[in-house]
Amino acid sequence: MSRTPASPRPPQWAQRLLTILVAAHLQEEVLGDLDELFYKRLQRLPAFTVRLLYLVDILLLLHPRLWRRASTTEHTASYRSLTDYPKPFVLHPAMVRNYLKIAIRNLLKNKAFSFINVLGLSLGMVCCLFIFLWVTDERSVDNFHTNGQNLYTAYQTVFATGQVDGNYNTPLQIAGNQRIFLLEDAKKAVPEIQHVVFYATGYELPWGHPETFQLGERKFKLEGSRASNDFFTLFSYPLLAGNAQTALKDVRSIAISRKMAELFFGNPYKAVGKTLRYENKMDLMVTAVFENLPRQSSLKFDFLLSWEAQRGSLEWSSNNFRTFVQLSDGTDPSLVEAKINRFLQPRLALPKEVKTQIGFQAIGDQYLHSTFVNGKPEGGRIEYVRIFTGVALFILFIACINFMNLATAQSVKRAKEVGVRKVLGSTRIHLIGQFYSEALLLACLAMVFTMLSTLVLLPAFNSLTNKQIPYPFTQFSFWMGLIGLTFLTGMLAGSYPALFLSSLEPVRILKGILRFTRQSIWFRQGLTVFQFGLSIILLVATFVVSKQTSYVQNTHLGYNRDNLIYIRIEGELMAPHNYHLFKDQAAKMAGITMIDRSSEAPHAMGFVVDDADGIAETNVDDDAINWEGKPKNASVGFKPTSVGFDFVRLMNLTVVKGRDFSRNNATDSTDAFLVNEEAVRQMGMKQPLGKWISAWQKKGHIIGVLKDYHTHSLHEPIKPLIVDVKEYEYFGVILVRLQAGMTKQALGNLERTYNRINPNYPFVYQFLDQEYAKLYQSEEVMAKLTTVFTALAIAISCLGLFGLVMFSAQQRTKEIGVRKVLGASVASITALLSRDYLRLIFLAILIASPVAWYAMQHWLADFAYKISIEWWMFALAGLSAFVVASLPVGIQSIKAALVNPVKSIRSE
């Protein structure tokens, strides 16, 4: 029936209302019915009434029946025509079963592809898993304390003369020979502070040294610390015996570890109440035995002496001790910081231009964030954690890109399947489900491989990273991480095939015109560039890191540290005549080249002296350094070193101006100084020779200038050095240069002599080269890991490239055939196929180089002495990538070019 446009129509809003109210499968008929009634009524009733009736009908229609979903019983099924068949839910069990069935068939059909895929994914996941283990381990340090969330370590931020500095020291004041710890009264001033604990390792930080304990015949050196009374209350180091509240109260008390108790008493439960001889100076009473420290404790000690014992006779040269506080539950540390600072300011007695502020760092953060950036502890190991996390994700991503590329390579075959499925009524969502399932299945397989390989490789990984990470079978978070990782990998890897292939139009596929759009080609090429870009960045990183590491380890420090050992001067050796006895006897023995002494070990020389507020000495007092022409406001503090006459020769140092100390010069032991070039620079002397210096109550003249040499790690700039001769000091170390190849014999001789002269102390020596090696442990680990990762990344990338070239050869089978028939040579076809890919690699090199350069500059910034990044590193990285990449590309291209054209063209 025809209607004029002017004729009334059913109210639209009511229809819209119905589309909301009425179940989808009923809408058509109901709305149709209503319309039909409407127009029928129009013929005999006025429009207004009809409209009203329309609404009445709607009201009468409203009934729960209408919004019930279509049930799946056979009767309602008859409600639908064929095209109306219900789509089963994507994750319907039957669907999932089907997905998996098809997925397994596909995997088995393309064994090579599946293998490459699983291999690539496993490699990526193994990386990730190890990093995950490592990071979890790093993050869990110091997290075992029961009051952990209320424990803080104090640090200070010092603002002076436009500079901001930070350290873990806390202010103290020296009044006469009394030391006042300014935070001791903090509890009184700030009620939120429940406990304050002072803690210090042996002196000469950061070179804490083992101390000697003796019980009858047994004598051992162990490393320990001093701590104030609340230590065991604050921290959760469980005691096997003794009272936590009072263990460290008494001046002569000592708490020892289970290990130490077993060493001396055989049984940790028998130790309490017994005495130990300490440094042959005093007897200490064992008041508590604590369980050996957990691996995850960043504080390391085998014994704790009472803080009080140290108070009067502090051996420390500075305020180098830690302060820990426990705040009451739920206290905001910044609030306490503010209170503490208000309380401290008037008591600090600092010069105007200097400001010190106390901050609190959560105990769990101190291990990873221990380097100060702008006066706050924000850098440190956390950067390694971040870098590695990033690298792990990179590698996983590379592996996933691979998967995508390989899946694409197969997509020509799979496209047909997609077409048929769509014709048979699959919707896109089902296909997405299918492809994701395949990816997840592969990821699961890879996961199984991964678990096995991590299990096998964990010991190796532990030795690489100097950790003892157990395999976390029992950790919930580990399994969650594992499942999460599998899922993430599957979803990431499956995303491209799932989203791209499922979007193809069935008609075009089945007609056989499967042209990939420009966009998808761009996308894939982009992925490849990205992959190789990452690999190249890693390659450059490998070169730089390993070169820097070997530079650091092999740089001539300016003195020869091979075959050089040092022994602490202690016990009987503190008496000068015994030292000389030892020296004279040892010097005659086989294997010993030279022997001398110095007031500290070579790698601890030249520290800048700070006074209690953490700022270099500014006012001239007895301890400070003064020199001819020192400006009023110069704030340079040196720590002078005293050595024997042979020191310069023993260390193989170079005297650039003037002369070395000499026994023949009567005044040398009273009036002579050697300084290094850095000290000359810092003192601002043009002509240093003959100028006077006063250091530590000794005034003398500079007789020579030493060529600068590195005393510390190359992270730090060379320190100024002032050396004088003191043959008769009661402290310091004995330096012995051993003859190469005679080490064993020499050590044996030394030990016999030592035991004769100093029987109460065990003979303990340190090799200097090993001490230095310790400084670069984290770089070592970095270098090794980077190498491993890079190798992996490149391997995975090449696997992917392999797949890609295979794919493009498949795409162009006919073209290649035709070209061959028309007389193209194998070489020209190989070139044709390779060209595109090698171009991509080239692009990747271009893009990656600046990024790599920037990243490596950032890493190197940490070193005071570093290699320069040179162009050849990029060239080499690029070339290696190129060469490695041309292998799979070449192999695949040649393979494609060699195919008999008859085969490839015949199909039509």
Partner: protein, 112 residues
């Protein structure tokens, strides 16, 4: 729900569907039955009943043609199934038996 009791109104609707045979759909049933009962029926009531009948298996439905006056929408056509026919026969038999059993005197017949 198969073999369920046939309600009274359901029976009427089912009979109408049978009557309309080839063109039995909701609006037609509303009009036909409305005329015969001489009272207006609501579309909702009829619609619901037809749905119920289908659930009970007494009718079978399919989509018919779309018409302009339905706004281009298809109508749902109903046809009585075997089970529907049996249910109607049964209802009829019960009624007939009842009619047959009513004593003549009951309806004021008798003496004449």
């Amino acid at each position: 729900m198969k073999g369920d009791q046939l309600g009274e109104f359901e029976e009427l609707v089912l009979l109408t569907i049978a009557l309309l045979y080839d063109d039995a759909y909701s609006v037609a049933v509303v009009e036909e039955l409305g005329q015969r009962l001489e009272r207006p029926l609501s579309l909702g009531a009829v619609h619901r009943t037809m749905q119920r009948l289908e659930e009970k298996g007494f009718v079978h439905s399919r989509f018919g043609d779309a018409t302009a006056e339905r706004g281009g929408r298809r109508k749902r056509l109903f046809i009585v199934t075997k089970a529907g026919e049996q249910a109607l026969q049964e209802a009829r038999r019960v009624r007939n038996d009842l009619w047959a059993g009513i004593p003549k005197a009951a309806f004021g017949g008798g003496i004449a």
